[in-house]
Symmetry: C2
Subunit: 332 residues, 2 copies
Amino acid sequence: MGEFDLIERYFKRPVNRAVLGVGDDCALLQPSPGTQLAISCDMLVEGRHFLSTTDPFKLGHKALAVNLSDLAACGARPLAFTLALALPRAIDSWLAPFSQGLLALADAHGCELIGGDTTQGPLNICITVFGEVPVVKGRSQALLRSGAQVGDDLYVSGTVGDARLALEVFRGTVSLPAPVFDAARLRLEQPTPRVALGLALRGIATAAIDVSDGLLGDLGHILKQSGVGATVDTEVAINLIASYAECTGARGQFNTEIKAEQWLGWALAGGDDYELLFTAPAAARTLVAAAADISQTPVTRIGHIGLEHGLRLVDGDGQYVPNTYSSFDHFA
Amino acid sequence: MGEFDLIERYFKRPVNRAVLGVGDDCALLQPSPGTQLAISCDMLVEGRHFLSTTDPFKLGHKALAVNLSDLAACGARPLAFTLALALPRAIDSWLAPFSQGLLALADAHGCELIGGDTTQGPLNICITVFGEVPVVKGRSQALLRSGAQVGDDLYVSGTVGDARLALEVFRGTVSLPAPVFDAARLRLEQPTPRVALGLALRGIATAAIDVSDGLLGDLGHILKQSGVGATVDTEVAINLIASYAECTGARGQFNTEIKAEQWLGWALAGGDDYELLFTAPAAARTLVAAAADISQTPVTRIGHIGLEHGLRLVDGDGQYVPNTYSSFDHFA
């Protein structure tokens, strides 16, 4: 199979919203009047972002999901994406499920594949995604990292820590009961981009980021860019791990050897969660609850924004807990 | 050096035309009213698109140049780009010259770096570039592959074949006198995107493509998408190789062992030329000459578009020449 056959067979699709899709030197997009284009780009490398044994269907899903997650964190509506793919060999048994997983998620979000590149090389998936954000009375509705205000509540969507836990099982550092592992593995391999929540939070959240490198590390970006500090409740955070509730919580039905500090580490610095971490005024709690409801996405208040710079962890009684959790760095 | 230091040190730059650049979940672009966004994406892999010994400054230039070349072929004005970079190690002695070569070309074209991704992995450079095309009275001014008409002239800009010739010298299949090799190597390592010519050809050219996989192969895309055929003059084509004129032509001052068929093969199917191949009505010859003049880019008429499908090669006397030239395919 040659390069052009490969594109024709798996990646050439009719476009609706784009003016021109795959097959020319450029794709053409005509943004709606009164909107800005939100653009993000994520590259996934074998061995670094996924294991060589990962199911190609799930990999196709994840490659787009992590990009849609960036649009979600910006409050942007997905429009289109480009795909650049380096492959050791052009094999049907890999390309067919990969393209199916990718395009199924794309269709679910009305996000069109408009162009890209394919080449021979070590497996590398690079997606650039485009979304639309309205500009209302000259003001962009984009959710930025820089808008957190002193007194704001701090929230996170869904669950965190389970993706890292699944990775640790693959690495052999912990073991888990099969049903708990299966659920955690789904979070690692097929994360859910919180697009609907991001859209619902426009005009409500003051700042947002998606949790990809770990909750505290990504919170650090909000704090730095907003020039504020934060306090995070570790008791709440540890309960955000779905596996923790299964194994150790009130509903706990499994015994594990995992210690509380380890659980907390995965919650605070696990990475690969693709949940939204966001701030909103305390006066907007009803609006946040409504946004969670409309988007059918659970959100949990895990702390608040303060004047004093830096990050403080407290336990359930409000006592300070030392912060020894660092986030993921690709070159550390 | 960590991931965020690396971005801060080499790739975070103030933006002018973009609303928001590097440092949030998404970049924000606000296209001008009455324009479309042209988008293209190219991935460069070590060993496939460049040699591991390539000077990082030149590699930075080339990585953006091949993307700008796609905008040129679309008649789009460069606006911005994203860079995704997989690197084995974050080393200053590589990153400093790479970013300098990249950003020097970006500055020359007013093309802003607005976002991207960096990760650890086998060296892979993926750039997505954004340009602007006006829409006049509801009609896009983009140059497409599909507009060639029977009777149109066929043109190519600059010179072709020299990049492939330099590659063959690196591969050891031919040898060249040093000054000829130096010039050819520059074409391989620092191609010139024909952005100004692409802009000048709006409203004049009926179809355009950039020559990256080889002249005949890329012409094939125009023919297929326009539903027409073409005749190409091999006598003109062989003289488009700058090295040929140096070695063998009227001004020839060097003797080489290279045969005419080999020269012609590099002209017609060399690849990596990044010249514009375009069609325009025979009645527009003066306008084409003016566009070449305004953009300070030489163009040569190498054939014409005909009704009969397929591609015909003729020699200087108009006699048919067998077509045994195939273009580059990354998976062939």
